[in-house]
């Protein structure tokens, strides 16, 4: 019997040790996650999130494909896909099948960080980080509002069941005022030579003054975008950007390039990995017509047996029955294989912004021609092609080249623009603007999101209408696609909110409705 009691005692012991719930919290915490407590070290609870903010403006992951490559990049006619996704009825042929991704990504990766900072009083304790985060947020959210029109902004973080949208105008005005405070905070820190960002900065190694300059440059981009619908505010903001003590970026060394840190450039994955991205015929027509030395950098020659070694692209919005038809057309240049960063904003773009500002009569510190040539020069230099500068800017004969589709003559075209490269002071303002925007289109490559927005605003460069249009009438072929529809998730999770957003948009939630700054008509 003694043996039995010993046994019972042992059993009782086992029951005893199990009879408490002390370990429950640690058991129910994912051992491979990172807790907030872990992150207080090294201020990772603030700085740790900056990679996420920086790398989701131009998303460095595969999501970029539907977010931009099959949307903005295709609509800007930089790149199109040889893949007949969804039986060739997809964004590229104006049947929207991918449209929620940009919204969902930025509201999941960008906005929550800002809210988290605000809720944890980062704005009060670390105003420099908060200001920096806001600059990055505006870079991202401008792309969101440019895509959709009215968006959730001032009401973000509301606990109401319906979250209301703001008009695009209100969003832009918020951008300006947020930039005001960010620039003012960052300027103070820049003057102190503060290096707090260093560990987390994927672009400027913690140099705050660079972030002030890029914030000013962003303000200039925003100002130019609203120049047709709100010229007074546009001029005010643009001049404010230039006159700020650090000014805007002027050299390629100032370019905002976000380090990939070991990740492959997404365009290389789409192009080489998945064979889903190829050069658009429009690029061949414009850059090929201009004998642009950047073309062989941006793209690789075709390997198709009909056109080997040529730079031949695929026209946007054509009939494709099989991926194999166009897959051997020009793919992306090998610089993307070795790319160490993604490009967000360049000095060349800023020069073209200043050129347009000057054309509009604003005080940009120089003439339209000066900044036009400077933009071309900066862009060529960016790719190590400064030797070509003189011949290129003085080329007054080259124009867009005709395009021949070797597989299907229905897609061949003769360009409708006769715009040349060399600046002509006697040209009309429209012609001058066409020249500026066409060159800007070449320079901002591969950021199709920005190029598409500028095409929508100005109508330049003159792109080719789609050949097949599966929008079911919601997008006019001649008027091109004007925006992307709101994501389905908004209709399920915030139905009244999105209904209000559509009302503010002032047209149906389709790709055919223009956003606020897309006024149409003449540019002057």
């Amino acid at each position: 019997m003694n043996k039995l009691y010993s046994l019972l005692l042992i059993l009782a012991f086992f029951v005893g040790i199990t009879g408490c719930t002390n370990g429950f919290e640690s058991t129910n915490t994912n051992p491979y996650g990172v807790t907030q407590e872990d992150l207080t070290q090294d201020y990772m609870n603030i700085g740790g999130y900056f990679a996420q903010l920086q790398q989701n403006i131009y998303t460095i992951y595969g999501d970029l494909q539907v977010e931009q490559n099959l949307t903005g990049d295709a609509f800007a006619q930089y790149m199109v896909t040889p893949t007949p996704f969804m039986s060739n009825r997809n964004n590229v042929t104006y049947k929207f099948v991918w449209y929620g991704s940009r919204w969902n990504n930025d509201y999941a990766k960008i906005m929550p960080v800002i809210l988290y900072f605000k809720r944890n009083e980062v704005d009060k304790q670390f105003p420099n980080f908060y200001a920096w985060a806001n600059v990055l947020k505006i870079f991202a959210m401008q792309r969101v509002t440019d895509n959709y029109g009215p968006i959730i902004y001032s009401q973000y973080g509301s606990t109401n069941s319906t979250i209301n949208y703001d008009t695009q105008q209100k969003v832009y005005y918020s951008f300006f005022s947020e930039l005001d405070s960010a620039v003012s905070v960052l300027t103070t820190y820049a003057k102190q030579g503060n290096l707090a960002f260093k560990k987390f900065d994927l672009a400027y190694a913690g140099n705050v003054s660079q972030w002030v300059k890029i914030a000013n440059s962003l303000r200039l981009r925003l100002a130019i975008r609203i120049s047709k619908v709100d010229p007074v505010r546009a001029k005010y903001e643009a001049e404010k950007a230039i006159s700020q003590s650090y000014g805007v970026i002027e050299n390629n060394i100032d370019n905002l390039n976000i380090a990939l840190n070991g990740t492959i450039h997404p365009l290389w994955i789409f192009s080489q990995g998945w064979s889903d991205a190829r050069m658009c015929a429009t690029v061949g027509s414009i850059m090929g017509g201009y004998n642009d030395p950047r073309l062989p950098v941006y793209f690789a020659p075709a390997t198709d047996i009909l056109i080997p070694g040529t730079y031949t692209g695929i026209r946007q919005g054509i009939d494709i029955s099989s991926k194999s038809t166009y897959v051997d057309f020009s793919s992306l240049g090998s610089m993307y294989e070795t790319a160490k960063s993604v490009q967000i904003m360049t000095a060349a773009e800023v020069a073209f912004l200043r050129s347009e500002g000057a054309l509009r009569g604003w005080n940009m510190g120089g003439t339209a021609q000066y900044y036009y040539n400077q933009g071309i020069g900066l862009s060529l230099t960016q790719y190590g092609l400064s030797n070509s500068y003189n011949s290129y800017v003085n080329d007054k004969t080259s124009t867009f080249a005709p395009y021949v589709d070797p597989k299907n003559s229905l897609n061949s075209f003769t360009p409708s623009s006769s715009i040349t490269i060399k600046w002509d002071d006697d040209a009309s303002n429209e012609q001058k603007l066409e020249r500026i925007i066409t060159q800007k289109w070449i320079a901002v490559f591969p950021d199709g999101q920005e190029a598409w927005s500028e095409f929508r605003r100005t109508g330049y460069p003159k792109l080719l209408p789609v050949v097949v249009n599966y929008s079911g009438g919601s997008i006019s072929t001649s008027q091109f696609v004007r925006r992307t529809p709101y994501p389905d998730e908004e209709y399920t999770s915030n139905p009244a909110g999105v209904a209000g957003g559509v009302a503010l948009l002032g047209g149906p939630d389709t790709g055919g409705t223009r956003v606020w700054w897309d006024a149409g008509g003449s540019n002057f």
Binding site: K3, L4, L7, F14, V15, T18, G19, T21, F24, E25, T27, N28, T29, N30, P31, Y32, G33, V34, Q36, L39, M44, G47, G48, Y49, F50, A51, Q52, Q55, T83, P84, F85, M86, S87, N104, Y107, A108, K109, M111, P112, Y116, Y156, G157, S158, S161, L202, G262, T263, I264, Q272, S275, S321, S322, K323, S324, G472, G473, T492, S493, N494, G497
Partner: protein, 1095 residues
């Protein structure tokens, strides 16, 4: 062979032996029944008899004062042609004539005072503990562990009665050297069922529905996965096998879907211990889903003695949350006393494809380089024929058991090796099982232990969906090209790279189409699973009805999965230098419980059975490393190692743990029986679950109550009714939520930290399920006909849902407890022995069930719908207010107000923006019909099962149609196009022929109008036919007892089927992709030859 008409009550544990108990009784002019009841009320014994045998209405008078029960009983039954015998705490009264059957053993003339002999069962296995006595005298004995006995009889005694639980008692002439063979009684005699926590109970006392299948039925099917044998044999069970073949998971549903996000799979329990379901990867969605298997196939079917299905939560209340979807109890074989028993089983089976998609070979490739076949008419080779192989399955197993009075042991080894119809697919499994049981401390303490080891290996498991699927290239191969050339030259030397490169006409397809033979030979995957289940059980008989038991189990699984995809595989899937997927995951569970059982007869009327216990369970699933080189690439071509992965980005989230849970519980159960006719069952359980940490609800309690009335004891029913019972029960079960939800963490990414955007839901509550069940069981006509009917209503509330947070809220996802789903259903089982003679027996049974559910409320804050993850491409499972679980929504035709199909400018139907509900994935009702014919040593049985109603969606057809490779597209072309009628956008009606290519490319394919591909899922099949022959070899070879040969045919044919393929297979065990297929393996049929030898 006439059946005895006993109604046996088997009480679990013994109370004191009562033979010598004395009673006092004084009754005048009462019926025998009343007298017996009075006698029973005074003693600890119960009387078991049939009203057919005993005239209970006979009026008697009795006066007894402190007399032996035996004597009193004799006087009560005076003048009736019956005899009685005492068995433990009950006395069986039976008709004398029924016991004087023709002896099985040889008779002899010699009569001695010393009678010795041996008692065996029908298989000549010695039977220990058989009670032997003479009715007239008090002499008696029992057989020893070898079935032998010795009894000294006075000369006057000429006969002996042999009786044993579950066997027909027999009275024989006594002679020395008797060989007595007892025949088993019908199952009804011995309906002990195993209930929750491995407790055996008398079926009569159960207040809920349960159904069992025996070893015989399990081994009959000779299926590798034990779950398959449940189908058609159990009412209310829906078993769908994974489309991935051997080693795949099984989707099992009892009483339909009740949970939106959490699993609807029942709990498996081996010998009383909950088995962890270690599914770490589900073939989720339509791309490259991998099914990791769910651990069920790890179990060796030869180790199983029986499986009992407890269908509702009522039955499973003692298991708590895990039992809310019902429980399947597996009892494994144990060693038995006596001579060593060896069973050897071997089987060989073949599997062949029995149905292929309807494809065309009359229209060629559209144009050179094209991946479609919309080209010129001709006569092209059938490239599909000859691709599939005959699958071979070889199974061998040996089991050994034996032991002494103190110790018994069981050992088994099983081996399976098989190939499937898919070339290169191989499966092998080795099982070792050892079990022992030893008695200590004067037989009061029993220590049993069991260890089961499994090694399972699968080569080239079939991945579901588009990616890495050989069927994609096979079916879509452009007609007119030379398939044999690509078969024989699936790889060619690439001089530029000095590697063997894939050779296939379509290398850039967005679904990753490849040369099937390249995939099979150069994109190989391997799954290796090792599992160990070890458990120890201690039972200690404390006196006076108390039994203390303690149990501990450790269950450990390691699964290694690798996929080595060589360079030049489809660029959609594999980067320049190849792709390496590596997943090495461990799952384990430790479980312990301590339980005190108490059995007692209180007074003369009540019998109670009580359990109190506590359990502890810790379970970790999917802990380990999962790395995929994916687009990040490999440094050295075709070197499949982790260090060869080119980019650090591949390591984001490489270390994972799917879930980790600790659950502590206390539970209690009390069952009270009144005069063997009324039973009340109460249970309560309280759980503490770690997944509710950080909330205020870490503890939850749930009760159950049940009542059963044996109407045949309470009322005087017509004699045709042998037994009638009504039962009802209510149970509330709660279900803890998944791990890690209440405290979501940030995750590390390459350059920093990714902010968690899931709302930490600290108000989470356990899910709750209220079950109400009612049932009726009846037996008629000498028990030759019986039925069992159950009706149930289940209310699931507080459903745990992960919802998409409004993007403006600051979060991406949040959790709610919401919803109210009501499930109602009916289950019916009927068994009949239609013919029963000495040489021929015809038995049949029918299982019927119907279940329906309704989502009464999804959430009060949430008005939209909830999309169960997994769908896409025009197929979704949505949960909406007023809908049902399992509702399928597909992309549909756009229709005008009058319902006409809207056509676009090219007269192609337009796809509507909204998906349309087309029906439910679940059948309206199911039927299983078993027939068993025995003639002498031959046995023939059939299982027919039918599922009626429900819908099935074929994504494969949509895809193949768009490529012009289906017969439908050829027929359309032959007919000059597709006949279309509808209205144009402006409302003008239009009807006419549309070019087949424009029609199918415009409406089919991925994301096409899936409304075209909806089928009625109704199917009725001959699931299984078995022909068996048993030969008793004992006469010739002393070492062999018998040999059993059988031929099994599975899925022989369908009586009715409309859907392509097998509507009973499933892509995944999840809730989101049910009743849909996407390039699944074709339907197969198999034949198996079994040989089983008992030594």
């Amino acid at each position: 062979m006439r059946k005895l008409l006993f109604l046996l009550i088997i009480w679990l544990s013994t109370s004191s032996f009562t033979q010598q108990q004395k009673v006092t009784l004084s009754l005048k002019n009462v019926t025998v029944k009343v007298a017996l009841e009075a006698l029973q009320a005074q003693s600890d014994v119960s009387f078991w008899f049939s009203t057919k045998d005993v005239d209970v209405q006979k009026i008697i008078t009795i006066n007894a004062k402190s007399e032996l029960i035996d004597d009193v009983l004799k006087r009560i039954l005076k003048g009736q042609d019956v005899y009685f015998e005492q068995k433990e705490d009950h006395i069986i009264i039976s008709k004398r004539s029924s016991a004087t059957q023709k002896p099985v053993a040889h008779t002899a003339n010699c009569l001695n005072q010393n009678i010795s002999g041996i008692v065996t069962d029908e298989n000549n296995e010695p039977l220990p503990n058989v009670s032997i006595h003479n009715i007239k005298t008090s002499v008696g004995t029992v057989t020893n562990s070898n079935g032998k006995f010795l009894i000294v009889l006075p000369d006057s005694v000429k006969t002996l009665v042999f009786s044993f639980i579950g066997m027909i008692p027999i009275e024989l002439q006594a002679y020395n050297g008797m060989r007595v063979k007892l025949q088993p009684n019908n199952k009804q005699m011995n309906e002990i069922v195993i209930t929750a926590l491995g407790i055996t109970r008398d079926k009569k006392s159960l207040t809920y529905s349960s159904q069992s299948i025996t070893e015989e039925e399990i081994s009959k099917s000779s299926d590798l996965n034990i779950a398959t044998s449940l189908s058609g044999n159990i009412a209310g069970i829906d078993v769908k096998q994974s489309a991935t073949g051997n080693g795949g998971s099984t989707k099992i549903q009892l009483r339909g879907d009740k949970n939106i996000t959490s699993t609807n799979q029942p709990l498996f329990v081996i010998d009383g211990v909950p088995m962890a379901n270690y599914q770490t990867s589900d073939a989720y969605g339509f791309y490259s889903g991998r099914d990791s298997g769910d651990g069920l196939s790890n179990i060796n079917p030869d180790d199983i003695e029986s499986m009992t299905v407890l269908k509702g939560a009522n039955a499973a209340a003692l298991y708590g949350s895990q039992g809310s979807n019902g429980v399947i109890l597996i009892s494994t074989k144990k060693g038995s006393k006596g001579a060593t028993k060896i069973t050897y089983r071997s089987s060989y089976g073949t599997t062949n494809v029995s149905e292929l998609p309807a494809l065309q070979y009359t229209y060629g490739q559209t144009s050179a380089g094209s991946e479609t076949s919309w080209g010129t008419k001709g006569n092209y080779n059938d490239n599909v024929k000859g691709f599939f192989k005959t699958g071979h399955t070889l199974q061998n197993s040996i089991t050994m058991s034996g032991g002494s009075d103190k110790t018994t042991a069981y050992f088994s080894y099983g081996n399976v090796s098989s190939t499937s119809v898919m070339p290169t697919n191989k499966y092998s499994k080795n099982n070792i099982s050892f079990r022992q049981s030893t008695k200590f401390l004067d037989d009061k303490l029993t220590v049993s232990s069991n260890i089961m080891l499994t090694m399972e290996s699968i080569h080239n498991t079939i991945l579901s969906g588009y990616y890495w699927n050989p069927l994609l290239g096979l079916y879509n191969f452009p007609r007119g090209l030379d398939f044999d050339y690509y078969k024989n030259n699936y790889q060619v030397m690439d001089q530029n790279r000095n590697i063997m490169a894939q050779n296939w006409p379509i290398l850039t397809n967005s679904e990753g189409q490849m040369n099937p033979y390249w995939i099979l030979n150069n994109d190989e995957n391997d799954t290796k699973t090792k599992r160990m289940i070890a458990n120890v059980l201690l039972n200690y008989k404390i006196n006076k009805g108390f039994l203390l038991s303690a149990r501990g189990t450790y269950d450990y699984t390691n699964q290694l999965y690798t996929l080595d995809a060589k360079a030049t595989s489809s660029s959609v899937l594999v980067s320049d230098n190849g792709r390496y997927i590596y997943s090495n995951l461990n799952s384990w569970q430790s479980y312990g419980d301590l339980m005190l059982t108490y059995d007692k007869n209180i007074g003369r009327l009540f019998n109670i059975h009580m359990i109190a216990g506590a359990s502890y369970q810790k379970r970790v699933i999917g802990d380990g490393l999962s790395i995929d080189s994916n687009v990040y690439g490999l440094s050295v071509v075709n070197n499949f190692t982790i260090q060869n992965i080119a980019s650090l980005s591949a390591f984001v989230n490489a270390q994972q743990m799917a879930s980790r849970l600790i659950k502590e519980s206390i539970f209690g159960n009390a069952s009270v029986g009144y005069k063997n006719r009324i039973y009340l069952d109460l249970s309560g359980r309280s759980d503490w679950a770690s997944s509710l940490a950080f909330t205020n609800n870490s503890h939850y309690y749930y009760p159950s109550a049940g009542l059963s009335l044996i109407m045949s004891q309470i009322l005087d029913l017509p004699s045709a009714i042998n037994f009638a019972k009504v039962r009802t029960s209510f149970a509330r079960v709660s279900n803890e939520i998944p791990s890690f939800r209440t405290n979501p963490t940030n995750s590390v990414s390459v350059n920093g930290v990714l902010l968690n955007t899931v709302v930490p839901f600290t108000k989470l509550q356990p899910e709750m399920e209220d079950n109400l069940e009612m049932g009726l069981e009846m037996k008629f006509l000498d028990n030759r006909l019986d039925f069992d009917a159950s009706y149930y209503q289940i209310d699931s509330k507080n459903q745990y849902l992960q919802l998409s947070a409004p993007s403006g809220s600051g979060y991406t996802n949040f959790y709610v407890n919401a919803g109210h789903i009501r499930t109602r259903g009916l289950e019916l089982t009927a068994n009949a022995t239609i013919i029963k003679s000495r040489t021929f027996e015809y038995k049949t049974s029918l299982n019927f069930c119907t279940t329906h559910n309704k989502i009464l409320l999804l959430s009060d804050q949430f008005t939209g719908y909830y999309q169960i993850p997994g769908g896409g491409e025009g197929y979704d499972m949505l949960v909406k207010n007023g809908g049902s679980m399992g509702d399928i929504y597909v992309s549909a035709y756009q229709r005008d107000a009058a319902g006409n199909i809207v056509l676009d400018d090219s007269h192609i139907p337009v796809k509507a923006k909204e998906e349309k509900k087309i029906g439910n994935a679940h059948p309206d009702w199911m039927l299983g019909w078993n027939t068993n014919l025995t003639y002498k040593n031959f046995n023939l049985s059939f299982v027919i099962d039918g599922k009626f109603g429900g819908k099935f969606v074929s994504m494969t057809e949509a895809y193949l149609d768009a490529n012009g490779v289906t017969k439908a597209t050829a027929d359309a072309r032959d007919a000059g196009g597709v006949n279309v009628s509808g209205v144009l956008d402006n409302g003008t009606p239009w009807a006419g022929m549309v070019n087949a290519q424009s029609y199918y490319t415009g409406t089919s394919g991925r994301g096409g109008i899936m409304e075209q591909y909806i089928y009625d899922a109704t199917n009725v099949r001959l699931r299984q036919a078995v022909l068996g022959w048993t030969l008793n070899l004992h006469k010739w070879i002393r070492t062999m007892t018998d040999i059993n040969l059988s031929l099994v045919a599975s899925n022989l044919f369908f009586f009715y089927k409309k859907a392509p393929g097998d509507p009973n297979t499933t892509i995944s065990t999840g809730n989101g992709t049910q009743s849909v297929e996407n390039f699944e393996l074709p339907l197969t049929r198999s034949f198996t030859f079994n040989i089983k030898v008992n030594l």
